[in-house]
């Protein structure tokens, strides 16, 4: 039985999938290899795909032979390019994530975040908004030295952060001795 175009295509695709080398070299090799298959078919008109693979090698054998004959420098170059590509993608993702976070923060109506070290408040961050007063105006600008009045009005529209700030403020009040 003759080798069909479909079988030939599948055979070459199998090699393409597992071959590790520079793209240009891969295309060059697969093109030459395809020509060689045509020459093989001319020489063996009755051969089937099994016989072809037995004579020319399975996709795995061909890829392994290619890798073995490829100089270490080429493999290193390929690995370096891959590594750089990964680093670039990671940096790009980090920038995108920061930008999205920034947009998220800016889109909020405003509020406060209290940074703590070992449970003690050290810093108050203020996200400006029309309906949210500056921390200094409500006694939160220097939480270490100043007593925080739990009754003071903190305008926060974000429900989650509101709970957090309130709980921190309660703890702060306890620490200070209220």
């Amino acid at each position: 039985m003759r080798i069909t175009e479909k079988e030939k295509f599948r055979y070459i695709s199998g090699i393409k999938k597992i071959l590790v080398c520079e793209r240009a070299k891969k295309e060059q090799f697969l093109s030459s290899f395809s020509d060689n298959i045509d020459d093989y078919i001319d020489d063996h008109p009755d051969a089937d795909i099994t016989q072809l693979q037995a004579d020319m090698g399975t996709p795995q054998e061909i890829a392994a032979g290619f890798l073995e004959s490829t100089s270490n420098e080429s493999i290193k170059r390929k690995m370096t390019v891959t590594r750089y590509a990964l680093i670039c993608v990671s940096i790009l993702l980090a920038i995108c994530a920061s930008f999205i976070l920034f947009l998220y923060i800016m889109s909020n109506d405003g509020g406060y975040a209290i940074e703590t070290i070992n449970g003690k408040p050290t810093k108050v961050e203020y996200f400006a908004a029309e309906n949210c007063e500056h921390p200094s105006k409500i006694g939160l600008s220097d939480v270490i030295s100043r007593k925080v009045n739990a009754e003071k009005n903190i305008l926060i529209n974000d429900g989650d952060r509101f709970d957090y700030v309130i709980s921190i403020r309660e703890r702060l009040s306890r620490n200070i001795g209220d």
């Binding site: 090699i15 080398c21 070299k25 060059q28 090799f29 093109s31 030459s32 290899f33 020509d35 060689n36 045509d38 020459d39 093989y40 020319m56 090698g57 054998e61 061909i62 890829a63 392994a64 032979g65 290619f66 073995e68 004959s69 490829t70 100089s71 080429s74």
Partner: protein
């Protein structure tokens, strides 16, 4: 194990064998592989995957030129041609090969110094 030994020996000489074949005439990939098989009586056989990276390396080094030729209506073949730089390099590695095999043969055939009594 013997196959592994043969593969290791082939690795060191395959470049020279390829260049030697191309010294005779320009050849395309499949033709090179067949020539190798026939002339070595099946003892020095390469697969496509192993030969092409070596050919590409020799092209990169400027030892071999490649030319795509249209065969028939649709088919193409890449012919490889040994250029002057390649010929000089072939002479160099052939001389090295002859020297090293001579040295190895000397070791293998060494009978030791005859003792005089």
């Amino acid at each position: 194990m013997p196959m592994q030994i043969r593969e290791n020996l082939k690795k060191g000489t395959v470049e020279m064998v390829l260049l030697h074949l191309l010294k005779e005439r320009d050849m395309y990939g499949y033709e090179i592989l067949q020539e190798m098989r026939v002339r070595s009586d099946g003892k020095f056989v390469l697969k496509d995957g192993s030969m092409y990276p070596i050919l590409y390396r020799m092209i990169d080094k400027g030892l071999v030129d490649d030319e795509q030729v249209l065969v028939g209506r649709r088919r193409t073949r890449v012919y490889y041609h040994l250029n002057e730089t390649g010929k000089a390099y072939l002479d160099e590695i052939t001389a090295e090969y002859v020297a090293i095999t001579e040295g190895i043969n000397n070791i293998l055939e060494y009978k030791g110094e005859q003792s005089c009594e």
